[in-house]
Subunit: 317 residues, 2 copies
């Protein structure tokens, strides 16, 4: 299990104030989506199993580093049902713990038992992923104060902030198996489309999930005036009157939340935003499958990944 492995990595490391917050976030679990993508891809391409753990751990560490720093920037108090590092300790601890975790991620990748050239490719992939996630996070911050974000801008932002890491995990499996460059690119693109579909599903669930099943508050994005795909699509498709209403509700913090949520939901319903978003998700899933179909391994080996992609992008929670 990854938890035990992370425990062993951090065992007795000092200073405690640096490593305790890292241990805290790595032990929280979460979906472990990225390690699973690495594992599935490595298996599909027939990579050496012994090398998978380092790569899977490296991506999971990179992901958690971004969470620690994002939570400072968003002043987020809770993640996975527990106080964020920033809240449980403080901003300085969270900055430094994130810095160290990003470095540990790279060190983990460097430990991968593979030829030097392969390890270099993997570390390059990790670096490219990390810089693009930073770019995506900056765009996300920029969008908060920008009034003319387009749907294309938004897709580019989530490509960087969310999709490239899922794509990187899938590509890593191809690199580990020394598969042809074209296979590595196709599985990478498969991950990009998966990531876009995954994020749009996230946007959709914020409004249409069953609260009990979803496990977190419905309408959080609307409450925080987040420019999600649903909002931007509604803005794009709206009449002048609807446009003004959307602008009004998304620029005011003083409106009663129930009132705001139901007004927005009514506009979404009038504009058929749910179906439009679902159709967009379907398009991305099809593109993802199309990229996967161009990977040169037996179809039977692709089924596990295909199943996962369907599960992630058509999930209810």
């Amino acid at each position: 299990m990854l938890e035990e492995y992370f425990k062993s990595l951090l065992n007795k490391k000092l200073p405690e104030n640096l490593y305790n917050p890292i241990d805290y976030i790595l032990q929280q679990g979460g979906k472990r989506l990225r390690p699973n993508l690495v594992r599935m891809s490595a298996k599909m391409f027939g990579a050496d199993e012994n090398a998978v753990r380092n790569v899977a751990a490296a991506f999971e560490m990179l992901h958690n580093f971004t969470l620690i720093h994002d939570d400072i920037m968003d002043e987020a108090p809770i993640r996975r049902g527990k106080p964020t590092v920033y809240k449980k300790w403080n901003g300085n601890v969270a900055i430094l713990a994130g810095d160290a975790l990003a470095t540990l991620s790279m060190q983990e990748m460097l430990k991968t038992p593979a030829p030097a050239e392969t390890v270099l490719q993997l570390v390059n992939l990790l670096g490219k992923t990390c810089i693009e996630v930073c770019e995506g996070q900056q765009l996300d911050l920029d969008f908060e104060t920008c009034d003319d974000v387009t749907i294309d801008d938004y897709i580019e932002m989530i490509r960087l902030k969310t999709a490239v890491m899922l794509a990187g995990c899938l590509k890593a499996g191809a690199l580990l198996a020394a598969s042809p460059a074209s296979d590595a690119e196709h599985v990478y693109n498969c991950g990009i489309y998966l990531g876009l579909a995954f994020q749009l599903r996230d946007d959709l669930l914020d409004v249409y999930a069953d609260e009990a099943e979803f496990g977190k508050m419905i309408g959080g994005d609307i409450k925080e005036n987040k420019k999600t795909y649903l909002f931007l699509r509604a803005l794009n498709d709206s009449s002048e009157e609807q446009h003004e209403k959307l602008r009004f509700f998304f620029s005011s913090d003083n409106v009663d939340f129930e009132e705001k949520f139901s007004a927005i939901k009514q506009i979404y319903s009038d504009l058929d935003i749910k179906a439009k978003t679902e159709s967009e998700i379907l398009k991305y899933v099809e593109s993802s499958f199309d990229e996967l179909s161009q990977v040169h391994v037996a179809d039977s080996l692709k089924n596990e990944l295909k199943g996962w992609i369907e599960q992630l992008t058509f999930r209810n929670k």
Copy 2:
């Protein structure tokens, strides 16, 4: 020039809000101590000149990443006579710019035109340096609220926070030249002792520099109750009465600075702290030279580095 090279690296990169702060700090110059150490070491070991720039740039970028994040943690408004990134923009921009710069540093190292095994050694060195600097920074933060910091604790903190990066720069030259492991270790240790001497000189200059020549305020460490070598040594060597006075002045923010500075300086003078610190610096410089003497290259090739070590550790500003 490194400035031009940094300009070319960042040219037209987007989003601007991510890359402008990075450009801002990299164009400020500073001593460029770390790139110079890489260059001198590479030359001494006879490494390929074409590979030096990437390595030098990588270490300078890593150093500037630590400055950006340290300035948030210290709430420092000014660095190199200009507003810090944290102050000129804000905390979120500084967190993300630092994250991206650390990643760019690794990517820069990966570009080094050298055999794969060498590049892996260099990236490993960079990662080890980065994690140790984080550990040193955490210890520094811990010491702020710790009343029983020993001189040994302090030396360990500055070894991590300051010395390992100088040592890493020197070791990188040996790695680039594929020199024997023992040479790489000796030049690394040479850098550790250089770093310790360098930091003790810094501590000394805070109290005894000529303000005009030093170019910054004298007594800044005393004003901020920083536990420097001088303070810890004084605490260690003091009578009960002096001990109480030191504790009093270093736990109060409400005392008039002139009064505090002159009282502390008097205790330092009574305890001969200046001479004791200078003698400690001399010991470290001798150890540094001793390590350098064990490096297997012609003595004539060591002169430039030796001259630099003397200049850095016996400097007046």
